[in-house]
């Protein structure tokens, strides 16, 4: 019976594919399987590519190829004078996907918006723990519960977010993947049938593509949503060919098995660039690789020792050797593409002689320290072990002995947070939403000590500036505050800012209108393919 059913379904699928023989198909060689298709609780970039950017939309969204926020499911929004209320005006006539498992009876409305957030926020919501052991990492990580007091329905197409205090980054937060708007009507249908888990495997969104089929670890197939509010997509079918090894992805692109691929291995880039059928786009990543000094431990509590140690490092040589040309010297914590970047901050100099003098002045002789190296490769630091070896050699030249230590990745981060951690600690960050607050406050605010402030650095002046910037709505005013914060950061050197990496995106020349996102996600909205 099951076989019979499968055969019938198969015949239907064949009929579908036969009818769609002329369909325009774009094949993307992606790097990993998504955990599932509900972006709310997910954290991985590949998870979001497969769900948030294809199937769903958000109230506001990042402009293609940038970090500025533009209207999404909300046509416009107003911020009250006291900055504590943001009112979103929803786009009328937005349709949810019609699939084999759900047929919507109404358009998007305020209930969907409220449900999308309350399920992540209110513990008594039936959907708060609808999958075993789930967590809403981003909703919690971005501290949303602290800032949102209430989400109010003013009418069917008007929703107001009432905040506990003015919060300028909130709009950017709402453009993030976790803030995808889901269908309350579909959730109610599943709840009535008692099958909550299907919400994560059979998604229903308003996005440009509908999920057609997912074969675990193999392929994800999407079809353009004909009733998409922003117009049907130029391509008809979108296929994610899951290919974990970067060199194999490159071979598949070269052999024409896919049209576009993510994250090439640095070693393959030259070959891909040399192929006349391919284009390799590149962009500065919204990231930073750095090395945190623990400012509560001697001798790193002395700013001159920190400066001396940074000065003794030949950053240019590290960037050349480890980033293989795909990195850029970082003088600030935020990358140059981000608004409020302070270009007036002086670049770091490599001066081992001066470093020796500073160490001698500080009375530091024969210093022996741990030097922490991450066990994993990250876009912001492809090989922390190698970086550590190069730093070790540079420091040896100024009389500092470094012992390289490393642990398994989660263990590494846990140990790194300890307030009595010995020795400088390599780490980094990839921006979530393009707001400077996401770098400054997340990584170096006083409240982040023991969480993600690996320097245990709490500077009153810096803290005042970033907290004020958070509650100010005028962007130019905020930018000025962040520029001042960058000067303090450089003067205090709580961390040695190493590099911002570049990200590459190889594709066939026939792929049109693809825009690389500085946030590192892969969106195929608006992308076409030349036949």
């Amino acid at each position: 019976m099951t076989l019979m059913k499968s055969l019938l379904a198969a015949t239907a699928v064949l009929a579908l594919t036969a009818g769609a023989a002329q369909a325009k198909q774009l094949v993307y060689c992606s790097e990993a399987s998504p955990a599932h298709f509900d972006p709310g609780p997910l954290t991985g970039g590949n998870d979001f590519d497969a769900s948030s950017h294809t199937i769903y939309d958000r109230l506001v969204q990042f402009e293609p190829g940038g970090t500025a926020t533009i209207p999404g499911l909300a046509e416009s929004w107003d911020i009250s004078e006291d900055g504590k209320e943001i009112t979103f005006h929803l786009r009328p006539g937005v349709k949810f996907h019609t699939t084999s498992y759900f047929t919507p009876t109404r358009d998007l409305n305020a209930d969907d918006v409220i449900f999308s957030f309350e399920r992540q926020w209110k513990e008594d919501n039936a959907w708060y723990a609808y999958l075993e052991g789930m967590t809403w990492d981003y909703f919690q990580g971005m501290d949303m519960a602290r800032y949102i007091q209430e989400i109010r329905k003013d009418d069917d197409l008007t929703v107001t977010f009432v905040l506990t205090e003015p919060n300028a980054p909130m709009i950017a937060n709402l453009a993030m993947d976790f803030a995808a708007i889901v269908s309350k009507e579909y959730a109610d249908q599943l709840e009535a049938s008692g099958d909550l888990a299907s919400f994560s495997t059979q998604p229903v969104g308003t996005g440009p593509f509908m999920l057609v089929d997912y074969q675990l670890d193999t392929v994800i197939r999407y079809q353009a949503f004909p009733d998409y509010w922003d117009g049907k997509q130029p391509i008809d079918d979108l296929v994610f060919a899951i290919t974990t090894d970067p060199s194999v992805r490159a071979q598949r692109l070269l052999a024409g098995e896919c049209d576009i691929m993510s994250y090439p291995a640095p070693a393959d880039i030259a070959q891909l660039q040399a192929d006349q059928n391919l284009t390799v786009m590149e962009q500065e990543g919204l990231n930073i690789g750095y090395m945190s000094y623990n400012v509560t431990e001697a001798p790193f509590d002395n700013v001159n020792v920190r400066k001396a140690l940074s000065m003794a490092i030949d950053k240019a040589a590290i960037i050349e050797a480890v980033y293989q040309g795909a990195g850029e010297d970082a003088k600030n914590l935020i990358p140059p593409t981000m608004w409020s970047y302070n270009d007036a901050v002086a670049a770091d100099v490599y001066d081992p002689e001066k470093a020796k003098e500073l160490l001698a002045e500080a009375g530091v002789t024969n210093l022996t320290t741990d030097l922490w190296a991450m066990p994993v490769s990250r876009p912001y630091n492809p090989n922390a072990q190698r970086v550590a070896e190069l730093i070790q050699a540079d420091w040896a030249a100024v009389g500092v002995t470094a012992n390289i230590v490393t642990y398994e990745w989660t263990e590494y981060r846990e140990r790194g947070k300890a307030e009595d951690r010995k020795g400088p600690f390599q780490i980094g960050w990839t921006g979530d939403n393009g707001d400077p607050d996401n770098f400054f406050a997340t990584l170096f605010s006083c409240s982040a000590i023991g969480v993600s402030n690996y320097s245990s650095w709490c500077n009153e002046e810096f803290e005042d500036l970033i907290q004020k910037a958070k509650t100010t709505s005028d962007q130019e005013e905020r930018a000025e505050l962040y520029r001042q914060a960058q000067e303090i950061f450089k003067a205090e050197e709580p961390a040695m800012t190493l590099a911002h990496s570049r990200v590459f995106m190889p594709m066939k020349k026939t792929v049109l209108n693809y825009k690389m996102s500085p946030l590192g996600n892969h969106s195929f909205k608006g992308v076409d393919i030349e036949e």
């Binding site: 198909q25 495997t201 675990l216 670890d217 060919a241």
Partner: protein
């Protein structure tokens, strides 16, 4: 015969318990915390961490966790993946046909090429063919799979363009799995071009995965044949005036195959291990790649249940080989 099978089954029970113990404790001595691994770069609050620890039972003493695990396994509950929240057994059953299909084709390749090569090398002992075959077999046996796979991809798929780079079937074919075996499914759909595509996709991974068993089988066949060819009954057969072909194919081969079958059985376990690398290189959606991904995600539940399921299958195959062996060689049943 039934007695023999029952005795073998009884031996399996302590082995299974041993494996559950190993799978459970090895996974726990891996550094890294599964709950922290689940959280992204923002981490998880200490309160939420505690709630989750409790929810997953990681706050209980280890022995208690082990017995809970064993109890669940005995009821057929292999747990739910920490990452995807899907039942482990569902994921396993979805991916397992791909591994079996690959392993079977690799094994057929190894046997079809290995046994004749071994026989021929034994018959022509000392000839250039013998030396070449054994040289190639030794090289094949020592080949690092990852390197060998990439080399074949670059040459046959990249340079010559003869074979696809990776995957199980060309993406232009959209066939929902029926049995999960791509060759069978494409035939059930009656889609001949899809069948050809699936077969083409199998060539390189099967060659890569089959290389080591091929080398082992060829060497084993050769030495078994050499031994048998020196036996009295072979000399008698020759003296009777039988043709050389008949002596080799009927009299020598049947006896020489007994150790070869054992070798083939043992290779099945190795094939499942080798599949881990082969599947990773060729993006082959099987259990090998699934296990590797789960280890890197610290998905305890998948790793320990996956290990157990794979071990159960290897044991089942070994049991089948033992039974087959007993059928061929009745003396075994009594020993």
């Amino acid at each position: 015969m039934l007695n023999f099978i029952l005795r073998r089954l009884a031996l399996i029970v302590p082995t299974v318990i041993g494996i559950t113990l190993c799978a459970f404790f090895f996974v726990r001595v891996l550094p890294g915390d599964p709950i922290l691994a689940m959280a992204g770069q923002h981490g998880v609050t200490p309160e939420r961490y505690e709630i989750l620890r409790e929810q997953f039972g990681y706050n209980l003493p280890l022995w208690q966790q082990y017995f809970n695990y064993l109890g669940n396994v005995l009821q057929g509950n292999f747990g739910v993946s920490l990452a995807t929240k899907r039942p482990v057994i569902t994921e396993f059953m979805t991916l397992f046909p791909a591994t079996i299909e690959l392993a079977l084709v690799a094994m057929i390749f190894a046997v079809v090429v290995g046994i004749p090569a071994g026989i021929f090398a034994a018959v022509k002992r000392g000839s250039w063919f013998d030396q070449l075959t054994m040289g190639v077999a030794l090289t094949g046996y020592s080949m690092p799979i990852f390197w060998w796979g990439l080399l074949l991809i670059i040459f046959f798929s990249g340079y010559l363009g003869w074979t696809p780079v990776s995957g199980r079937i060309a993406l232009t074919f959209f066939l929902r799995p029926i049995t999960g075996f791509m060759l069978i499914d494409t035939l059930l759909y009656g889609n001949w071009p899809a069948f050809v595509s699936a077969l083409r996709h199998l060539i390189l991974p099967a060659v890569v995965l089959g290389t080591i068993p091929l080398a082992v089988i060829a060497r084993q066949t050769r030495s078994a044949m050499l031994e048998v060819l020196g036996e009295d009954y072979v000399r008698t057969a020759r003296a009777k005036g039988l043709s050389a072909r008949r002596v080799v194919n009927v009299h020598a081969l049947r006896n020489a195959l007994i150790p070869v079958i054992t070798t083939i059985g043992l290779q099945v376990g190795l094939l499942l291990g080798g599949a881990i690398l082969t599947e990773t290189i060729f993006s082959w959606p099987g259990i090998g790649k699934w296990m590797i991904d789960s280890i890197s995600k610290r998905d305890y539940v998948v790793v320990q249940s996956g290990l157990l399921l794979i071990a159960l299958i290897v044991m089942a195959v070994n049991l089948a080989v033992d039974v087959l062996y007993a059928v061929i060689n009745p003396r075994i049943r009594v020993k």
